[in-house]
Symmetry: C3
Subunit: 133 residues, 3 copies
């Protein structure tokens, strides 16, 4: 089963919790035990897992990435979004999760976040659920 989520981001950099939407696709797939691959098909965005409680954590992650990879720098790519490409590589764009009893296996404080590094834009996320034998 493969599905595509659609998102509209609102800021240049942003982390959006997509745990519920991905869990919805797992439920729709009917898979009780297996794997779930989540994939961002963009090159100036990413995917991460981090704390879903205090929104300050997301702010601190985005601020640290801005500090490490400033928007302006010694870049050659002429579209003004080299920082977004570099952050995408540092962050990663694919996460594979376990599925047990029809649910994603996540720690208590873990949420799955779409990371926008060159918004606002329309974006999509691919979800593939894979059943155990």
């Amino acid at each position: 089963m493969i599905a595509r989520l659609e998102l509209q981001t609102r800021k240049r950099t942003e982390m959006i919790d997509i745990t519920g939407e991905v869990q919805g696709e797992v439920a729709r797939s009917g898979v009780r035990s297996g794997l779930c691959l989540v994939w961002v098909p963009h090159t100036t965005a990413g995917l991460t897992v981090n704390e879903n409680a205090d929104p300050s954590v997301r702010r601190d992650i985005l601020a640290a990435l801005d500090r490490l990879v400033p928007r302006e720098g010694d870049y050659r790519h002429s579209e003004g979004n080299s920082d977004g490409h570099i952050k995408s590589t540092l962050c990663g764009r694919d996460v594979t999760l376990a599925v047990e009893e029809g649910a994603l296996v996540l720690g208590t404080w873990q949420g799955l976040f779409f990371c926008e590094f060159d918004g606002p834009r329309r974006r999509s996320v691919i979800v593939k659920v894979f059943a155990d034998r």
Copy 2:
């Protein structure tokens, strides 16, 4: 097959080789050919693969992360562990490995490391082994 390893970390930041324990779970699963997903269910820890021979490599990785993401900084999250959350996103928390002939497929110098970024704590690691058809 899904299993949970338990760890006690001893320092604030630390890399612990868990290759043997994960290989043990692969053996217990009886899977000869497939995939092995390893997942850290924490938001201030990570998982990486790097050199298992010279311990200086681990020291250099942890020191570089400390330099890039200092413990004290312009952070809003009030628990004093923003650096751990940021490092978790930079490092990643899931690794998927191939299994062939009942063993993890790793390069000669590769070990799988649990990365503690806010210890010492009790931690766990989830291992899911998935058989080929």
Copy 3:
């Protein structure tokens, strides 16, 4: 199905597009729908997905990694390639992709890149294709 690609890198740091070779292994496997795990069995190299059009993006990613993790620094590992080990952990060494209709599921601008951080060397990449039920 598991396969091994062989590469000869030409520079100390370099990003080499291996999308076509990996897609070739997917075709050879005969798998129409499933997953494809790509794994770098080295500890001073990595794997990423980023823009495959403008080569300046690759240059900007490698230059940013050089700035964040300089070749010379406060390193203990005596082989002179600590920067390569650290970059390998920041970049990651495994990517899992979806396979649909016999092809890798990638965004329009996405290519899969082998990242050399301590070349030139002979390198290999492991590709495992996994079929849906």
